[in-house]
Amino acid sequence: MQPTFKQWLASGSPFIWLNAGAVALSMIMVVGLLALIAVEGLGHFWPGNLADFSYTESDGASGRLLGEINDEEVVARAILPENDSRLDAAGPVIKRYLVKTGNRDLTGSDFRWVLMPAMSAMEYPVDAIAIERREWGNFYGYLDGVKGTEGVSSDSGDLWGRFQAEIEYANATSLEIRRIEKDLIGAINYKIERLRLDERRLEIEGTNDPDILAAIREQEKELQRQYDGLTARLPDLYAGLNRSVFLMRTADGAQVEMPIGKIVRAYRPNDMGFLRKAAFYVRKLWEFVSDEPREANTEGGIFPAIFGTVLMVMIMAVIVTPFGVIAALYLREYAKQGLLTRLIRIAVNNLAGVPSIVYGVFGLGFFVYFIGGSIDQLFFPEALPNPTFGTPGLIWASLTLALLTVPVVIVATEEGLARVPREIREGSLALGATKAETLWRTVLPMTASAIMTGMILAIARAAGEVAPLMLVGVVKLAPSLPLDMNFPFLHLERKFMHLGFHIYDVGFQSPNVEAARPLVYATSLLLVIIIVILNLTAIQIRNRLREKYRAAEQN
C-alpha cells in the first residue's frame, strides 16, 4: 500500500521526518565536534614523515624543501596570482599542501603553502632529522658532523649515536640548571623577600629592637651565602650546554651549527617503524601532560595549567559544598514555606542563568579590590604599595566560581531532599530523635548522592569557565605554582594558570598561532574529556539515585 503524495502530506510524516532531521543534525554536530577535537588533538603528537622535494618558486628559482606535509586543499586558479608561469599548464583548480618546514630562524616562518604543480622529485630520506629546539620551533635537516673539543669531524663512527648521547647529557644538564635556578634559588629569594617584609613590618610597628634586626641581618647573610654558593655552580653547567656543537645541513644545503644545549630531542621519523613511532607518541603525550610550557606556551607541556585548574576547582568545591548544602537544608527543612521561599528559589534559579562575566565583574570589584584591599591594609601593610591579596589570585578565583556554582549545589541538594520520603523523616522523629539528629543521621545520608551530583556538576561547570577567571586571577604564564615547598605551602594569593585560559591565550594571543594550534586542540581535548567524564558521572549517580528512590517509594 503506497500512499499518494497527498496522503503522504496529510499523514504529517514529512514534518515528523523534518523533526527527526533536526535531532539527527544536532547529534551529528555534537559527535562531529568531539571527533574533530579528538582527531586534531591526538594527531599532533604522532611523528609525521619528512618529505624532501624540489620546489620552483614564483620567480623561477628552484630549491629543495624538507618538511612535514600537514594539510592539503584545493583552491580555484582564479584566487591565485595571475601571471605565475608555474601554473600555466594547470586547470581551473589547483591542489596545494601546507608544509611544516620549520627552521623559523632561517626562513621566518614555520609553515608554507606549496603548490603541487611546482613540486617534483619527492622522496622520504631515512636520514632526515627533526629536531625540537628550545627556541625557534623545529629544525628539519641532515646531520653532517660534530665540532667537539677535538675539532671538526664528520665520520666519527656512529655519529647519530653520539648525537643522541650528547642530547641526553644536555637535557640532564638543563634539568639541573632548572632545579638550581627555579627551585633552590627561587626558595632562597622567597625567604629573602619574607625577611625584607618582616623588617618592614617591624619598622611600621615602630619596634626597632636591635637584637631582632641583627638576627634578620644574620639570616639574610646566611641566605646570601647559600645563594652565592648555588650561583657559583651555574657557569660550569652552562658551559656544558655548549661543550659540543653539531653541524647540520638544511635541505637546500645551508650549514647550521647546532649547540647541544639548544636541542630538546632529535629523531629520524622516516627511519621509525610503527612501534617506535607509537612509543615516541606515548612519550610526547606524557611530556604534554607533565611538562612545563616552552616558547610562550606554544611548545612543551601544560602541567602548570592542569595543576592550577585542579587546585582552583578543589578549593572551590571545598567552599561551595558546605555552603550550598546548608542553604538548601535551610530552604527546605527550616525556613517557613511560603511566598518568600518561593521568591528565593526563583532568585537562586535565576542566578544560575546570570552571565558568568557578571560574576567576574563582581569578584574583581568586591573580592579583589574591596575585601583583598582591606586585608592588605590590615594584615600586610609591610608589602604595600605592592598588593598581596588586593590583586587577582587563586583564592578570589575560587570564591568567585563558588558563588557562580552555588545555585547548582543548592538546586541539586534540594532535589535530593525532596525525594526523601516523608515517612522516613516522621519515623525518625516518632522514635524521639531531634530534628537535627533526623537530618544528620537519616536525611543527609540519603541525600549524599544528590549532594555529590551537585558538587560534580559544580566542578564541571567551574572547570570550563574562563570569562570570570580572566578578571580574578588567571595569567598566561605563572612564575611559580600556587603549591610549593615554601611556607605556608599553599599560596592562595598567587596567580595561576588554567586550561581554559590557556586555550584562549595560546589560540588567540600567541604570535605564532599556526604552530600553536595543534597544542590548543590537545588542551581542548583534555578539558573536554575531564568535563564529559565529570558530567557522565553526575548523570550516572543521578540515575542510580532515582532508581533507588523509586524502589524505596514502592516498598
Binding site: 543534525l25 544536532s26 574583581l364 578578571l471 581554559g500 564529559v532
Partner: protein, 760 residues
C-alpha cells in the same frame, strides 16, 4: 567501651529521669537548637551573598549618577595685596599652592590653605613698560603671556617641582622664562599690545596680539634642532593678519595651527595658521543673533572645541568639521542655555571635556561638553565675575569675589561625562562628521575624548543573540518535539543525555573552534552553508517520500521512532556533498571565491570572524538549553490528552500540532527565554569568534563587539573608581538585569505551566 559508659547507657535506657539522662537530653536539645541556628545563619548568609551581587553592582554604578557638589571652604584677602588688579589665577596639581598674577606684573605664589605668600616673582623686571593685556596658553602647558605697552611681550611658565624630604612632599613653585626673561618684540612699531594670546610647546612659540591701532600681528618662533649644533637655531616668522574692525576675543589653539577671533558684530573668524607666513581665512561665521554679543571665548581642553559665551548667558560649543572634500567648516555642535545673563568667564578643565562658567549675575555653572550636560548651577557672590582658576584635577576652584576676597572652593564632580545621552544616544564627538554611537574608552593621546556609548555594545549583544536564536530555536524545538513525542524510548535515553552533555562543553572550546577552525573553514566554503540550508530539508523530505514508497515489509523492519538513525548517514553524506560542491560553485558563479565576490560585486564587507560564525557557535551553545527545557515541557503533557486526540482519529502529527504543542507552548516559550538569556551573556565565544570592533550593522558577514566581550577585554585595564570602571560595571548590571528578567519570566511561566499540568 568502658564500664562507666555501659552504666550510663543502661541508666539512659532504663531510667528516663536519671541525672545522666536529663543531662543527655539537654545536650541533645542544645545541639538541635545550635543546628537550627547554624542552618538559619548559614542559609541566610548564602542567600544574602547571592543577593549581594546585585547590590554591589548597583553600589559601584551609583556614584556615576551622584550630583556634583561645590562648597566654599574658606576665603582670604588676595595674596600680594589689593593694590593691583588680578589678571589670572592658577592652582597646582596637589592644590597646595596657588598663583596670582597681578596687573603690575607680579606672580604671587601662595599657600592655598591660608593665603599666605610663599614667593613673589617680578615678571617685568627687565622692562619699564606697563602690562596692558594677558593671555593664558593651554592650561596643561602652564604657559602665559603678558602684553606690554611698548609692543613687547613677556612669555613665562609657572612651574612646580616636587621633592620628598623624610617622606614628606615638598612642592617648590617657580616662574621660568622659556625664551629668556627679556621681553620679546612683537610689534616693532612700539604700539601697545591690547589683546594677546600665546602657546608654547617646548619647540615652538606662537604669539598673536592686537595692537592699539587695530593691527593683528602673529609672531612665531620655532626652534630648529640642527643636526650637530648643541644650541637650537631659532627661526622667527612675522605676519600681519588684516582685520576689519576691533577684535573682542582672541583664541589660539594648543597645536598652534588654528586662530580664532571675534568681533562686535558676533562673527567668529576662523584662520588656518599652520603655515605661519601665510595665514588663511577659512571662514567667517555668525555665532550669535543680532543684538547679542559674544562675551567670552575659550578652548575646551585638547584645543579642538571652541566655547563661545554670549550676553544672553548661552554657551555654545563649536568645532571644525571635515566634509567629504576634506574642507573644514566651523560648526555649532551643541549649546547650553542654563544661565541667564552674560557669561563673563569660561575656564576649561585641564584633562576632561568639562568647563566652568561664571555670568554677570554671579551664577557659576559646571558643564560637560561631550555629555551635553549642565552638571551644576550654583549662586556665588561674585558679581562682576572676577578671575578664577580651576584645579588641574578639577577638584577645586579659586574665585575672586566682587568683595575683593579670594575664595577657595571644593569641587566633587567625579563623573560629569556620564549622562543618558552620552551612554545611549548619538553624540557628536570632536573631529567627527556627525553625531554617532561610538564606544572608545581609551586612547594613547592625552587630550582624548572618551566615548562611552553603550548602544553599539548592546546592539552587538542583541545581534549575537538574534543570529544564535535564528539558528538554535528551530533546531532545538524541532529536535525536542521529535525526541519527546516520536522517538523510541531506548533512543531517547541516549539522545537526551548526549545533548545535555553538549550544554556542559566549555564555551572557550566552542569559541576556539569557531574562531580558529570554523571561521577559516567557512571562508573557504562559504557557498556550502547556503547550499545546506536548501539541501538538508530537501534531502530529509526526499528520504521521507522515498521511505513511504518502500514496500511495507521493508518498512516494518524498522521500529517506529527511529527515523533519525536512518537520517544520520544520509545527512552526513549531504554535508560532505555540500562541502565538496562549494568549490565548483565558487568557480562557476563567484569567480573562484565567494567572499571576494561579495566585496567586489555587492560591496558587502566580509570579515572572517563574522556574525554567521558567532551565531552558529552560540547557537550550538544554547541548543541544549532550549532543547532540554522544551523537551521536558512536551514530554510532560499529560498522556490522556494525546490518547484522547488520537482516539478521536487525529493523526500523530495533528495531535502534536493541535494538542501537545498548544499545551506545551508556555514551556517552549520559557525555554527560548532561558536560551536568550544564555546567548546574551555568552562571553568567550564572542571574544574569540568576532573581530570585537564596535560596528553597528546587521550584516551577517561582519563582526561586532558585545557587552560581555567588552567587559572581559577592558576590565583588567581599567583604573579602579574611574568613570570607565564604573561604566563597565554598568554594562555588567545591564547584562545582569537583562538575563534576570528573561529568566524570571521563564521561571514564572514554567511554574504556572506546572500548576496547569497538574490540574489537567
Amino acid at each position: 567501651m568502658s564500664a562507666t559508659d555501659v552504666a550510663t547507657r543502661e541508666s539512659l535506657l532504663t531510667n528516663f529521669q536519671s541525672p545522666a539522662a536529663l543531662q543527655y537530653r539537654r545536650v541533645r536539645q542544645v545541639r538541635d537548637a545550635a543546628t537550627r541556628y547554624v542552618m538559619a545563619v548559614g542559609g541566610i548568609s548564602v542567600i544574602v551573598a547571592i543577593v549581594l551581587i546585585a547590590f554591589y553592582l548597583i553600589y559601584v554604578v551609583l556614584p556615576l549618577f551622584y550630583p556634583a557638589r561645590v562648597d566654599k571652604v574658606r576665603e582670604f584677602a588676595p595674596p600680594g595685596g589689593t593694590g593691583a588688579a588680578s589678571l589670572y589665577y592658577a592652582v597646582e596639581e596637589q592644590r597646595e599652592i596657588g598663583l596670582r598674577i597681578t596687573a603690575d606684573g607680579r606672580a604671587v605664589f601662595f599657600r592655598a590653605r591660608d593665603g599666605s605668600e610663599l614667593v613673589t616673582r617680578n615678571l617685568t623686571a627687565e622692562t619699564t613698560a606697563q602690562v596692558v593685556s594677558f593671555g593664558a596658553g593651554d592650561p596643561a602647558q602652564y604657559t602665559f603671556a603678558l602684553g606690554m605697552s611698548d609692543g613687547t611681550a613677556v612669555i613665562a611658565k609657572h612651574h612646580y617641582s616636587t621633592s620628598f624630604v623624610d617622606e614628606v612632599r615638598r612642592i617648590t613653585p617657580d616662574v621660568i622664562f622659556p625664551i629668556g626673561g627679556a621681553p620679546q618684540w612683537i610689534d616693532p612699531a612700539h604700539r601697545a599690545l591690547e589683546k594677546i594670546a600665546a602657546q608654547f610647546d617646548g619647540d615652538q612659540l606662537t604669539v598673536v596680539a592686537v595692537t592699539s591701532e587695530l593691527r593683528l600681528l602673529l609672531v612665531n618662533l620655532s626652534m630648529e634642532k640642527t643636526l650637530f649644533g648643541e644650541t637650537p637655531e631659532i627661526k622667527r616668522t612675522d605676519t600681519e593678519i588684516p582685520i576689519p574692525g576691533p577684535v573682542t576675543h582672541l583664541a589660539l589653539d594648543v597645536d598652534q595651527r588654528e586662530l580664532y577671533f571675534t568681533d562686535h558684530d558676533g562673527f567668529i573668524y576662523y584662520y588656518d595658521i599652520s603655515r605661519k607666513e601665510e595665514p588663511r581665512l577659512i571662514q567667517r561665521v555668525t555665532a550669535v543673533p543680532d543684538g547679542v554679543d559674544i562675551t567670552s571665548l575659550e578652548f575646551l581642553s585638547g584645543g579642538i572645541s571652541l566655547l563661545v559665551g554670549d550676553s544672553r548667558g548661552e554657551i555654545a560649543q563649536w568645532f571644525p568639521v571635515r566634509d567629504q572634500e576634506n574642507n573644514y567648516t566651523l560648526d555649532k555642535i551643541r549649546s547650553f542655555r542654563s544661565q541667564s545673563s552674560a557669561i563673563a568667564v569660561i575656564r576649561p578643565e585641564y584633562y576632561r571635556k568639562g568647563f566652568l562658567a561664571i555670568d554677570d549675575d554671579g551664577t557659576l555653572g559646571l558643564y560637560h561638553a561631550t555629555a551635553g550636560r549642565t552638571v551644576k548651577l550654583v549662586k556665588i557672590e561674585a558679581e562682576g565675575g572676577g578671575p578664577m582658576a580651576i584645579a588641574p584635577r578639577a577638584d577645586g576652584m579659586l574665585i575672586e569675589s566682587g568683595q575683593g576676597t579670594l575664595e577657595v572652593w571644593d569641587v566633587r564632580n567625579r563623573h560629569p561625562e556620564v549622562s543618558w545621552q552620552s551612554l545611549w544616544g548619538k553624540v557628536w564627538y570632536e573631529s567627527r562628521q556627525q553625531p554617532e554611537f561610538i564606544w572608545q574608552s581609551s586612547s594613547a593621546s592625552s587630550d582624548f575624548e572618551p566615548k562611552f556609548s553603550l548602544t553599539p555594545l548592546a546592539f552587538g549583544t542583541l545581534k549575537a543573540a538574534l543570529y544564535a536564536l535564528l539558528f538554535a530555536v528551530p533546531l532545538a524545538i524541532m529536535g525536542a518535539i521529535y525526541t519527546a513525542y516520536f522517538m523510541s524510548a531506548g533512543m531517547r535515553n541516549i539522545v537526551k543525555p548526549s545533548v545535555e552533555i553538549m550544554a556542559a562543553l566549555p564555551s572557550v572550546i566552542l569559541g576556539f573552534l569557531a574562531g580558529l577552525w570554523f571561521a577559516p573553514f567557512l571562508e573557504k566554503h562559504l557557498p556550502s552553508i547556503f547550499l545546506l540550508i536548501v539541501l538538508l530539508p530537501a534531502v530529509v523530505l526526499g528520504a521521507s517520500w522515498t521511505w513511504s514508497r518502500l514496500p511495507l515489509h521493508l518498512r516494518q523492519r524498522m521500529p517506529e521512532g527511529t527515523e533519525a538513525t536512518l537520517l544520520v548517514p544520509i545527512m552526513i553524506l549531504t554535508l560532505l556533498v555540500a562541502v565538496a560542491l562549494s568549490q565548483p560553485v565558487e568557480v562557476m558563479f563567484f569567480d573562484g571565491s565567494m567572499p571576494l565576490w561579495l566585496t567586489r560585486e555587492l560591496g558587502i564587507t566580509f570579515d572572517q570572524r563574522n556574525s554567521l560564525v558567532v551565531g552558529i557557535a552560540i547557537g550550538f551553545a544554547v541548543i541544549p538549553t532550549i532543547f532540554s527545557i522544551s523537551e521536558d515541557a512536551i514530554f510532560g503533557v499529560p498522556k490522556h490528552l494525546t490518547t484522547g486526540s488520537l482516539a478521536l482519529g487525529a493523526t500523530p502529527w495533528q495531535t502534536m500540532v493541535r494538542v501537545v504543542l498548544l499545551t506545551a507552548s508556555p514551556g517552549i516559550f520559557s525555554a527560548v527565554m532561558i536560551g536568550l538569556g544564555r546567548a546574551v551573556g555568552e562571553t568567550m565565544i564572542v571574544v574569540m569568534a568576532t573581530g570585537n570592533t564596535a560596528v553597528m550593522d546587521l550584516s551577517i558577514f561582519q563582526g561586532f563587539r558585545a557587552l560581555s566581550a567588552n567587559i572581559a577585554v577592558e576590565m583588567p585595564e581599567s583604573e579602579v573608581g574611574s568613570t570607565h570602571y564604573r561604566v563597565l560595571f554598568l554594562a555588567g548590571l545591564v547584562l545582569f538585569i537583562a538575563t534576570f528578567v528573561f529568566n524570571t519570566v521563564a521561571e514564572v511561566v514554567r511554574q504556572r505551566l506546572r500548576v496547569k499540568y497538574s490540574t489537567l
